[in-house]
């Protein structure tokens, strides 16, 4: 049953701009994460059609976690759509059921999708993960009707768009934390490239913030930065931070502080952990 979006979402909606006119699919989902528990095994998301034409939407679950690529950039690695779900202990995809899984939305319309968790009776204390994939595809064929006398080769490629949100199923009293196993930095003119190895501890994913501070040789802060991050196992993030040109020949002290201060998430969804910090000195060049 199509529903009106919540007021906050409507505000966001107008901020995102007016509806487009091309006959192509688009998708938006609110909220941007879902947490279920044995006491609250039912959740819901709202799927929106931001386009000016109707589109078909499908909803399914795949396993996926945040990791870092070889360049230290955060990416979400998802299980292949066409392959069987991986037999990973934390994989909740098999026992989370979305409803409805397929529907058509008119321009600007929305649809509530309910998510119900039915875990095995033997499910152990811990956190289980999945990703809700919402896909939009156009209703009309990519090519206009063919003239019967046409002897050409025509190509019609449809573009389907998907957005993905994380789902957490939490059993029992969970904890999380992170250790900074290594911290290094290299200087390239007016930029510092900082690399860390971060390993999650406890029984749940670490959702937090990395705060970086660069101090000069006498301890004055010369650059700061903050970035949200998620650690499911071990990540190797790389950050770059600009430093004043006048200080680039000096030694620098880089401090990384990790906290679970995440006001961007719904209240009560973050598992708190103590802050951890580490400082690394970069000798003068």
């Amino acid at each position: 049953m199509p529903l009106r979006p919540p007021i906050a979402m409507t505000l966001t909606w107008y901020a995102l701009g007016t509806l487009a006119s091309a006959q192509l699919p688009g998708v938006a989902v609110d909220p941007h994460m879902v947490v279920l528990t044995p006491r609250n095994p039912n959740g819901r998301i709202v799927v929106f059609n931001p386009r000016a034409t109707a589109a078909e939407f499908t909803v399914h679950l795949r396993f996926g976690t945040v990791t870092t690529d070889t360049g230290g950039q955060a990416v979400v690695r998802m299980a292949d759509d066409t392959a069987p779900q991986p037999a990973i202990h934390e994989n909740a995809s098999a026992w989370i059921t979305p409803y409805p899984t397929k529907f058509i939305l008119n321009p600007g319309a929305s649809q509530v999708v309910r998510l119900t968790a039915t875990p095995p009776r033997t499910v152990a204390i811990g956190e289980y993960w999945s990703r809700v994939v919402v896909r939009a595809r156009e209703l009309v064929p990519p090519l206009s009707p063919r003239n019967i006398t046409d002897s050409s080769v025509r190509i019609g490629l449809s573009l389907e768009t998907s957005t993905v949100i994380p789902l957490f199923y939490r059993v029992g009293d969970l904890s999380t934390g992170v250790t900074i196993d290594s911290l290094s930095a290299t200087r390239d003119r007016d930029t510092l490239a900082i690399r860390a190895t971060l390993t999650r501890t406890g029984t749940a994913a670490y959702l937090g913030v990395a705060q970086l501070t660069v101090n000069d040789s006498i301890g004055r802060p010369i650059a700061t930065a903050s970035k949200r991050l998620a650690i499911y196992h071990t990540n190797h993030p790389r950050w770059t931070i600009a430093i004043p040109n006048s200080t680039r020949a000096q030694p620098h002290h880089v401090t990384l502080v990790l906290t679970t201060n995440r006001p961007d998430t719904p209240k009560g969804t973050i598992i708190r952990a103590s802050a951890v910090a580490r400082t690394q000195t970069i000798p003068s060049s």
């Binding site: 941007h32 690529d69 955060a74 090519l143 080769v153 573009l159 949200r228």
Partner: protein
């Protein structure tokens, strides 16, 4: 992850009047109640195809390349939280099919560019390798336009007709 300055997650604060759902309102009084609430609004990630990858007609025995910078390149608009890290997966077909005949037409040389990095980057068509991107910092929301190009190869003796298929663009935040 690139920091140019002191970057604090820029989340707009909205003071919003929210009508309580009936089930919650019941506990406080009969009928509905309206309370003032302050909440952080996180931009939902919106992914919209704004232009198809349009090869038009292709001559038999010829290749046709659409560069990401071309007016007929596929185009996808991604909007979300300012300065947020996102992961983009492009899964494109390497073969388009002529109905159910089993006859195919090859697509290769896939590449993309973005509104932030106009130099084309090649990628394997049927790839599930995610690409990391950061939405630009802005007072309201971050936006990236993704342009997609490829080469279509109509072999000599290619059966005339309509060859169709679909590609997928999947986008997600990487901080949750």
């Amino acid at each position: 992850m690139n920091f140019r300055a002191c970057i604090i997650p820029s989340v707009a604060l909205f003071a919003t009047l929210v009508s309580l759902p009936q089930s919650r309102a019941r506990a406080q009084s009969s009928g509905s109640a309206t309370v003032a609430m302050t909440a952080q609004v996180v931009q939902p990630l919106t992914v919209s195809a704004s232009r198809p990858l349009d090869f038009g007609s292709v001559f038999v025995g010829n290749n046709k390349t659409i560069a990401p910078s071309a007016a007929t390149a596929g185009q996808v608009d991604i909007k979300g939280q300012s300065n947020a890290n996102i992961s983009v997966t492009l899964t494109m077909p390497t073969m388009l099919m002529l109905g159910n005949t089993g006859t195919g037409l090859t697509l290769n040389n896939w590449n993309y560019s973005t509104s932030l990095a106009p130099t084309p980057v090649s990628f394997p068509g049927q790839s599930s390798t995610p690409i990391a991107m950061t939405l630009p910092t802005s007072a309201s929301y971050g936006r990236i336009t993704l342009n997609i190009g490829a080469t279509a190869s109509a072999a000599a003796g290619q059966t005339p007709g309509d060859y169709t298929g679909s590609g997928q663009i999947t986008v997600t935040y990487t901080d949750l």
